[in-house]
């Protein structure tokens, strides 16, 4: 490990284990996967029990809103990926620009979500409301899951925005750079996971007809 055959440049970072850091991040992502996996299991379980009521309830959700958000999120995944490549190629400006676009898209996603939720709420469809309690079981469950799953996903988006903003500052200041890009790469991984989960949420909630 500490053999002296290393080039001095590497010696400087002898204590840094990039692969280790990435491994830690992946392991963390698997816990997230299982966390949402648990909720997908609940969804599958109840959809199996109330297929028709899920269908009726899903009609209320706006497919176009969902599609728009899907496109926003997919594109933000692209920009964050480009940002990483750019940084590694030494193009700091392109990296910052793409990171900025990613953050803007993420916020757009949240604004969109906010509209969607507030529309639902103003129609009296929210947990514990009179209207919801009068619906049949399957629909109550559908909306329960809808709120917790998209809500938790939204929480991840917000956390993602915070993390990406930090990365923006770090790159700007130069502490994350061409030779030391693992933090950005790990943040990118996190952001892709957020995208990944949405890829499943979208058809399961917005596309049942």
């Amino acid at each position: 490990m500490n053999q002296s055959s290393h080039a001095p440049a590497v010696e400087q970072h002898a204590h840094r284990d990039d692969i280790g850091a990435k491994m830690g991040m992946w392991l963390f992502l698997f816990t997230e996967l299982l966390l949402f996996g648990g909720m997908f299991l609940m969804y599958a379980y109840y959809r199996f029990q109330y297929p028709d009521q899920f269908k009726i309830a899903a009609m209320e959700l706006s497919t176009s809103m969902g599609t728009l958000n899907t496109i926003i999120l997919l594109t933000s995944s692209l920009t964050v990926a480009i940002a990483i490549t750019a940084l590694r190629k030494g193009n700091r400006f392109l990296a910052l620009l793409n990171l900025f676009v990613t953050i803007v898209f993420a916020l757009a996603f949240m604004v969109n979500k906010l509209f969607e939720w507030s529309a639902k709420i103003s129609h009296g469809i929210y947990p514990g409301s009179e209207d919801i309690l009068n619906k049949p079981n399957g629909e109550i469950l559908f909306y329960g899951l809808y709120y917790v799953m998209t809500g938790l996903h939204g929480l991840h988006v917000i956390i993602g925005v915070v993390i990406l903003s930090f990365m923006f500052v770090f790159i700007y200041k130069g502490s994350v750079n061409k030779d030391n890009f693992m933090k950005l790469e790990n943040s990118g991984l996190y952001w892709h996971l957020v995208d990944l989960i949405w890829i499943f949420l979208f058809p399961l909630f917005y596309l049942i007809h």
């Binding site: 990435k22 698997f30 997919l74 490549t85 991984l189 979208f202 058809p203």
Partner: protein, 100 residues
């Protein structure tokens, strides 16, 4: 030590911009397919198609965007372990549900 040498190579891998853009186009295309297909009523088949497309999309994201394809092989093993566990949990729970 062999492991470390391989790491070095993977470490060098930088995905070109063009690959990313292509993947992104594919993702958008797949999204529009699901949305269109969902308009037609296929019943249970629709769900299967939607899930299949989602699976394709996510494998694109995982392989290219998250470049697990070019990364440590062990990460792939980890991923399989997690997914496999998830599948087991689903299958065994449904053993109960389907037979009630």
């Amino acid at each position: 030590m062999n492991e470390d040498k391989q790491n070095k190579e993977n470490h060098e891998h930088i995905t070109p911009y063009s690959t990313y853009v292509l993947v992104w186009l594919a993702l958008i295309a797949l999204t529009s397919i699901t949305v269109t297909v969902s308009g037609i009523d296929f019943g249970m088949v629709a769900l299967a198609i939607a899930m299949l497309i989602a699976a394709v999309k996510s494998s694109l994201v995982i392989n290219i965007f998250m470049h697990i394809k070019f990364d440590e092989p062990i990460f792939k093993v980890f991923l399989m372990v997690s997914l496999f566990t998830l599948v087991i949990i689903f299958v065994l729970t449904f053993f109960d549900l389907v037979n009630r």
